[in-house]
């Protein structure tokens, strides 16, 4: 791997090599830019570092301190963020649905939330591209949103998918079986197919599940990009000309460095991105860098992720097969009859024993002999989850806490409150999934409140007064400072965000490439949509090896 020196002024310094950061690093390096990715966690050697074990996989998550509060405080850590090259794509379950066209104009259609500054059609070619690049396995025909099919064939059903499909079919609800999921159903290149071991959330040691660590970072390095791992960015430096000069960071020994760069892209995800920008406050930006709007850190979203657990008389053995393998988006869109805006999806999940015990603690109040007894029935339970759209609210936000981390950097404080629409949606969604579970033949059905995914807190918009970045991810305030990750999403739909985050990254990369050196030496803002570049996919991925569809 090429190593730049701190004193080299690279073209782009990307903070965070996760879902978005990995794609950006690959695209920009391949296009010939000098790019370094500063990543707080390690560069994984999957065979040496990862284990096929629930407890032993704790290191994949962002477990450094954060403070959580509000009326409905979010669990953080393993519930939502990764640390290490690949970021959240290392431990995601890899459900990879697109957003629906309606997601991009929620305010116009429903009078709530926000509109995106781009439309579904702007992103569609990137969905199509990434679905082939990653690639995604799923049904040949996916009927919701903008109907489409998937390049790799669907996966066989596990016990959980079986109950989802059985329950939904009884109730006349259409389902998608065997995907869409970023897991190989047939081998491709040097990546083997899935072996159905069920440890996706613990990191796929097999290499069947996509993470940018294996899909994009290798080609980034081949193309001359650098990943500087175990390096924690602490502050972005602003020059007197209101352009950023580079990134301060701590290396693995805790030594401080400054990486000079012509432009900086922050890809640290919905908590660490606002934290870094808030910690980069400086004269002229006393409330946080690029925060003239006061919206930095605000409009943080999590999706409702209630897990509904049903006990069956027969054995299910929910630990087999990828947790993500069947779903329905039948309730995704607003239905005025339901009395709330927007909707939810229903998806399979596959808790391993520790996660399942914690669910039983919450859902059934299990402890003592009751815990031992219900756990002895682990193999009789199935688990299906709500994935519900919670709207963006200004009071759901990331701020700085008084506590600091091991480097002395103030940590994030996250405040989260459910609002009326959210509560109604959750109530309806969880009852619907319980109905599905009963219809599937369960004899006992319980549920756990929970939240999944984080997005927002550095949202994109056309109006600099009410958003942090423009539709290409450029901060409204600073011409050579970008944000590109889950934090730019104005709303979140009820699709898992990973594919959309990567599609946005590929689109931002096309914009940066089309702008060339102008990003580095001009403050002018060209808002022309860039042409999509098909020749920047990692070799052997674009339109290659496709069993179906062209």
């Amino acid at each position: 791997m090429r190593r730049f020196r701190d004193t080299d002024e690279v073209d782009y310094c990307i903070v965070g090599v996760g879902s978005a950061g990995g794609v950006l690093l690959q695209r920009l390096s391949r296009a010939g830019f000098q790019v370094v990715g500063i990543e707080a966690g390690p560069f994984w050697d999957t065979e040496r570092d990862w284990v096929s074990d629930e407890k032993g996989s704790h290191q994949l998550y962002w477990t450094d301190l954060r403070i959580t509060g509000g009326e409905h405080p979010l669990s953080l850590g393993e519930n939502n963020s990764g640390k290490g090259v690949g970021g959240g794509s290392v431990h995601w379950a890899a459900f990879a649905p697109r957003f629906h066209p309606s997601d991009f104009r929620v305010y116009t259609e429903d009078g709530v939330g926000a509109d995106w500054p781009i439309s579904y059609d702007d992103l569609k070619p990137y969905y199509e591209l990434l679905e082939r690049e990653i690639p995604i396995a799923g049904p040949a025909y996916f009927p919701w949103g903008d109907p489409h099919g998937y390049p790799y064939g669907p996966h066989p059903m596990g016990g959980v998918g079986n109950s989802l499909i059985r329950g939904c079919t009884k109730l006349g609800i259409r389902v998608s079986a065997g995907g869409p999921v970023a897991i190989l159903s047939g081998s491709r290149g040097d990546r083997p197919h899935c072996i159905y071991r069920g440890f996706c959330i613990q990191g796929c040691k097999v290499g069947a599940k996509a993470s940018t660590l294996i899909t994009h970072v290798p080609n980034a390095l081949e193309s001359g990009g650098e990943v500087r791992d175990c390096s924690m960015a602490s502050r972005i430096e602003l020059g007197p000309d209101r352009r950023v000069k580079g990134v301060h960071y701590f290396d693995r020994e805790g030594r401080e460095h400054f990486q000079k760069a012509k432009a900086v892209i922050v890809s640290g995800y919905a908590i660490e991105t606002p934290r870094l920008l808030l910690n980069s406050a400086c004269p002229g930006f006393s409330a946080g860098l690029a925060n003239s709007s006061g919206t930095l850190g605000r409009y943080l979203m999590a999706q409702a992720g209630n897990v509904i657990l049903g006990r069956f008389d027969h054995l299910v053995r929910l630990y087999k097969a990828p947790p993500a393998h069947a779903m329905t988006e039948e309730f995704y869109e607003t239905d005025p009859k339901r009395g709330f805006a927007r909707g939810f999806a229903i998806q399979t999940v596959g808790p391993l024993p520790i996660a399942f015990a914690k669910q039983m603690m919450v859902a059934k109040g299990a402890w003592g002999w009751g815990m031992r007894r219900v756990m002895m029935d682990y193999n009789h339970w199935s688990s299906i989850a709500v994935l519900g759209e919670i709207l963006p609210w200004a009071d759901n936000r990331v701020e700085l806490a008084s506590e600091t981390d091991q480097f002395g950097i103030p940590v994030a404080k996250v405040t989260f409150n459910l609002h009326d629409n959210d509560k109604k949606l959750i109530e309806f969604g969880k009852n619907k999934v319980m109905e599905v579970m009963w219809a599937a033949g369960a004899e006992d059905v319980v549920q756990e409140d929970r939240y999944a995914h984080l997005v927002g807190a550095s949202r994109m918009g056309s109006d600099p007064e009410t958003s942090v970045v423009d539709r290409f991810g450029r901060t409204h305030d600073i011409a050579n400072l970008f944000v590109c990750d889950g934090s730019v999403l104005p709303t979140q739909g009820s699709a898992n965000p990973g594919l959309t985050i990567q599609a946005l990254a590929a689109r931002t990369a096309d914009y940066l490439i089309s702008q060339g050196d102008r990003i580095f030496n001009s403050n002018s803002r060209d808002m022309t949509q860039p042409p999509i570049r098909y020749n920047l996919s990692p070799p052997g991925t674009f339109w290659k090896g496709m069993p179906r569809m062209t």
Binding site: R48, D49, V51, S52, D53, K55, G56, T63, D64, L65, R66, I67, T68, H72, P73, L74, L76, G77, E78, N79, A93, F95, M157, G159, N162, Y196, R197, G198, I201, K205, V206, G305, L315, R317, K320, A321, P323, P351, L352, I354, A355, A357, K358, Q359, M361, G365, W367, G368, G370, R372, R373, V374, M375, M376, N379, A385, L387, V414, E448, A452
Partner: protein
């Protein structure tokens, strides 16, 4: 001394004979099933991590000896193991101690909770205060029934005798943190996997039989038996943890989808 830790009482009962079921090496419905017996099929790194877990119980370093004894008595009720042959009981306190000694957290702290180390220090004080209130004894000296009463009062969110501690931290969050930590230690052990019929590490071999709960050739069929909870126990009823609703909100913590 305390019945729970010696295994004198508090054994599950055979409903047919009404006799206590003698402790066994492997409770559960999968007789003869052993994940460890499959270790040749595991990758080297996983094997070393799991065997280390089984063969090297970490020493107690965070708790002092009195706290450790109290923790042992508490964990013996939160995940009781009286039905297990003493040589096959799974260490729990040592893993909680290890986590606190290394100050490993889950990545967050509720704004109205102290740091995890203080949560345990305070929580143990509260447990002894409740024990004194209920039986005039330290928790370790209460019988199993009284111990369960103390713990159930925390589970129910109704333990006013330790109110001065709950003023500093939420009773529900303390309870859920404690039960989570105990369950995480127990269900990360291969003997617990054998008990519940979980497949354990599965790389590089994987699975072939995904549907219908059918066992792989190396897994075994379920053989159920009836057992009643020990008569001196209060923990075999399923009631959501109680308390005032504002503090109840405790979203799930493990990752899902």
């Amino acid at each position: 001394m305390n019945g729970a830790s010696t295994g004198r009482k508090s054994l599950p009962i055979d409903p047919n004979t009404h006799e206590p079921l003698p402790p066994v090496r492997q409770p559960g419905y999968y007789p003869g099933y052993s994940t460890l017996a499959q270790q040749t099929f595991w990758d080297a790194k996983t094997r070393s991590v799991i065997l280390h877990r089984v063969n090297h119980t970490p020493p107690i370093r965070f708790f002092d000896s009195e706290q450790a004894a109290l923790m042992k008595a508490v964990c013996d009720r939160i995940i009781p193991q009286d039905d297990r042959d003493p040589a096959y009981r799974i260490p729990i306190v040592n893993y909680i101690d290890e986590r606190l000694h290394e100050d490993k957290i889950d990545g967050f702290r509720y704004e109205n909770m102290p740091a995890d180390r203080d949560v345990y220090r305070l929580g143990l004080q509260a447990i002894d205060m409740l024990a004194q209130d209920r039986g005039g004894l330290r928790f370790v000296n209460l019988d199993a029934r009284r111990q369960d009463e103390v713990l159930k009062s925390i589970h129910d969110g109704n333990a006013p005798a330790a109110q001065e501690i709950w003023n500093h931290m939420s009773i529900q969050r303390f309870w859920k943190g404690l039960v989570s930590d105990c369950a995480s230690a127990y269900y990360s052990h291969p003997w617990a996997w054998d008990e519940i019929g979980f497949g354990g590490p599965a790389y590089p071999r994987g699975y072939m039989r995904l549907e219908g709960g059918e066992p792989e050739p190396w897994e075994v069929d379920e053989v159920r038996y009836e057992w009643q909870t020990p008569p001196d126990s209060l923990s075999d009823v399923y009631e959501p943890a109680g308390g005032d609703s504002e503090q109840k909100g405790h979203p799930g913590q493990g990752g899902t989808h």
